[in-house]
C-alpha cells in the first residue's frame, strides 16, 4: 500500500521511529529495511555523543523511562558509513537531527543538503531532557517554528522537514500550527513525555503508557491543521505496537505511523504491522 507522506511516496504507512532501530543493521536481521515506509535514524548531532552511563532505561507499567543521552557517532561518521549502508539495503531514510542551537541546526542541515539519499529530515523537538543534554529546548511553540524554518531554509526543494513533537495534548494545537507555518511538511506526534528515572534524573516516558495521549494529540493536531487550512501531514508515534493501534491512529487523521519502543519488545512488530496494513495481506 503506497502512501503519500510529507510529499513523498512511501511503500508503506509504517515507519521505524527514531532511536528505536539501532543503526539499521540490527533491525535488518528480522526483515529487509525496504519493508518499512521509511527508516528514521536515531537523532544525529553535529558532534559525536557518547551517551549516558547506565542504567539508562527502566521499565514502568506499560512503558519505558529512558535517558540514553542521544548517543550517536556524529554527522560526519553517520554520512560516511551508516547512511550509505542503509541506502544499499533499500531503506528510505529519514534523518533525525538534534542540535544545540539554531546555528548548529543550520550547519547540520547544510551538510545534509549535499548528502545523496536523504529522503526527509526529522527535527527532534521532543527531547524531554533537552536542557540537561545541551540541545535546543523547544519548550515554547516559537522554538519549534524557528528550528523548522532554520532547517528548511538550508535543504533543497523536495527534501521535506518533519517536526517531531512531544505527546503534550495541552499545547499540541498551537504547536502544530506554528510548525506548519514554518514550513513543516508533517508533524510527528508524539515523542516522549518528560519523566524521571527512579533516582530522579530527567528522562522521557514512552511506550503503550503514552498511547492514549499520543492518539489525542493526533486527533487534535489534525483538526487544528484543518482549521488553519495548513498543508501539513500528521504522523502518529508513541505506543504503536500492533496493526490495531496503527489503524486507530490512521482513523484519527494520521497518514502514517512510526513504530518505536514496541520494537524493543519484539523486533518484528513494525514489519508485521506493515504486512497487516498492506492490502494483499490485510484482506
Amino acid at each position: 500500500m503506497s502512501v503519500r507522506v510529507a510529499g513523498l511516496t512511501l511503500a508503506s504507512p509504517v515507519l521505524v521511529a527514531s532511536g528505536c532501530g539501532g543503526t539499521g543493521r540490527e533491525l535488518a536481521a528480522y526483515a529487509p529495511l525496504s519493508t518499512y515506509g521509511a527508516f528514521t535514524t536515531r537523532s544525529i548531532s553535529r558532534d559525536a555523543r557518547p551517551g549516558a552511563g547506565g542504567p539508562t532505561i527502566t521499565e514502568t507499567p506499560a512503558g519505558l523511562v529512558h535517558a540514553t543521552g542521544l548517543p550517536n557517532p556524529g554527522l560526519d561518521a553517520f554520512l560516511a558509513t551508516e547512511l550509505p549502508w542503509l541506502l544499499t539495503e533499500g531503506a528510505r531514510v529519514v534523518v533525525s537531527v538534534v542540535a544545540r542551537d539554531l546555528g548548529e541546526y543550520a550547519e547540520v542541515a547544510r551538510r545534509l543538503a549535499t548528502a545523496p539519499g536523504v529522503s526527509a529530515v526529522e527535527v527532534n523537538l521532543a527531547v524531554p531532557d533537552a536542557a540537561e543534554l545541551g540541545v535546543l529546548d523547544a519548550r515554547e511553540p516559537f522554538h519549534v517554528g524557528a528550528a523548522v524554518s532554520t532547517v528548511l531554509r538550508e535543504l533543497p526543494r523536495g527534501v521535506p522537514v518533519l517536526a517531531k513533537l512531544r505527546a503534550d495534548p495541552v499545547r499540541v494545537a498551537e504547536t502544530v500550527r506554528v510548525a506548519a507555518d514554518a514550513g513543516a511538511a508533517a508533524v510527528v506526534l508524539g515523542g516522549a513525555l518528560p519523566a524521571a528515572l527512579p533516582d530522579g534524573r530527567p528522562a522521557g516516558l514512552s511506550g503503550p503508557a503514552i498511547a492514549p495521549l499520543a492518539l489525542r494529540c493526533v486527533a487534535d493536531a489534525r483538526s487544528a491543521l484543518d482549521a488553519a487550512g495548513a498543508d501539513c501531514d500528521v504522523v502518529a508515534c508513541g505506543g504503536i505496537g500492533s496493526p490495531e493501534d496503527a489503524r486507530h491512529a490512521l482513523d484519527r487523521g494520521a497518514v502514517a505511523v512510526q513504530v518505536g519502543s514496541a520494537l524493543f519488545h519484539d523486533p518484528t512488530t513494525a514489519a508485521r504491522t506493515a504486512a497487516a496494513l498492506s492490502p494483499d495481506e490485510g484482506a
Partner: protein
C-alpha cells in the same frame, strides 16, 4: 549468527535447586547457537512489560524429536524471572535469539583454560567447556555460589573439566568464600592462558584482574540490563577502551556480551559513567 524472533513452546520445566531449568522448542535459535549467546524473552502478556529479560543459553540438544532444543537456567527473583519460571509444558513464549554480537572467542592453540562462573551466571560455560575440549584445551573450572542450592550443575562440571574448584559463601559445598578468593591459586595450578568468566560484574572484574596478574587473556560475559537485547534501544552502555586506546561506550548486547576483560573500564561501569 543472525538471530530470529520466534514463538517458542515450553517443552519441559524442571526445578533444580534454586533454579528452574526451562527447555524451549525455539526453531532456528539452537541451530545458530555459539557459547556465550543469549536469548531475550518478552515476559508477561499485553505489553505491560515492555523491557525484555535476557537469559544465557545453557544447553542446546536434541530432545523429544526436536533437533536443537534450548535450555535456560532461570533464577526466579523478580517479576520477569518468576513469570518465565512459572511457564508450564505447552505454554508459548516469545523469544529472540541467539543474541550477542560476540560470543566467547576460542583459542587457536590447545592451551589450558580456566572457566569461572557464579550462580546461574555459570550457565554459558558448560557448552563452552565442550567446545574447548574438542579443541584439546585442558579445561579447569571454578564454580561459585552463595550456597549449594545456587550452585549450577556441579556434577556435570566434574564430567567436562579436568579440575573443578567449588566455592560457596556458606561453605555448604567446597571451600567457604568467594570466587575471587580462589582465583589466584586456580590460575597458578591450571597454568591457564585464557580465563573465561560469567557472573556478576564484581566476579568478572576479579577474574579480569587475576588474569592480568597471571599474564593470561580474559574473556568476560557481561550481564548489563538489556531492555531489548537486540541492539535497538541503546540502553545497555558499557564503558570500554577501544583497540586504539580511546575510551568509548559499547553496547553490551551487540558489541558483547563477551568482551576482553582488560578492555572494560570497571570503575566507570560500577559508577554508571560513559565515555
Amino acid at each position: 549468527m543472525s538471530p530470529v524472533h520466534v514463538t517458542a513452546e515450553v517443552l519441559a520445566s524442571k526445578r533444580i535447586g534454586a533454579f528452574q531449568h526451562v527447555t524451549l522448542v525455539a526453531p532456528g535459535v539452537g541451530e545458530r547457537f555459539r557459547p556465550g549467546a543469549f536469548v531475550a524473552v518478552s515476559v508477561g502478556t499485553g505489553g505491560y512489560h515492555l523491557a525484555r529479560r535476557a537469559f544465557w543459553i545453557h544447553q542446546v540438544r536434541p530432545l523429544g524429536g526436536y533437533a536443537a532444543t534450548v535450555t535456560l537456567v532461570v533464577q526466579p527473583r523478580g517479576e520477569g524471572t518468576r513469570w518465565l519460571a512459572g511457564r508450564q509444558r505447552g505454554d508459548r513464549v516469545e523469544v529472540t535469539g541467539p543474541l550477542g554480537g560476540r560470543p566467547f572467542a576460542l583459542p587457536k592453540e590447545p592451551v589450558p583454560v580456566l572457566l569461572v562462573g557464579e550462580g546461574y551466571g555459570a550457565a554459558p560455560l558448560f557448552a563452552l567447556a565442550e567446545r574447548l575440549r574438542e579443541r584439546d584445551c585442558p579445561v579447569n573450572l571454578v564454580l561459585g555460589a552463595p550456597d549449594e542450592a545456587h550452585l549450577l550443575s556441579a556434577l556435570e562440571a566434574r564430567r567436562t573439566a579436568r579440575a573443578v574448584t567449588i566455592v560457596t559463601g556458606d561453605g555448604s559445598v567446597g571451600a567457604r568464600g568467594s570466587v575471587a578468593d580462589v582465583l589466584p591459586e586456580a590460575l597458578r595450578r591450571s597454568g591457564a592462558a585464557v580465563v573465561y568468566a560469567a557472573g556478576p560484574a564484581t566476579t568478572l572484574h576479579a577474574a579480569a584482574l587475576a588474569a592480568e596478574e597471571h599474564g593470561a587473556w580474559s574473556q568476560v560475559a557481561l550481564e548489563q540490563r538489556t531492555t531489548c537485547g537486540t541492539g535497538l534501544c541503546l540502553g545497555c552502555p558499557v564503558p570500554v577502551v577501544g583497540e586504539d586506546g580511546v575510551a568509548r561506550t559499547a553496547r553490551a548486547c551487540t558489541d558483547g556480551p563477551v568482551v576482553r576483560g582488560d578492555r572494560v573500564r570497571w570503575d566507570d561501569l560500577a559508577r554508571g559513567a560513559s565515555a
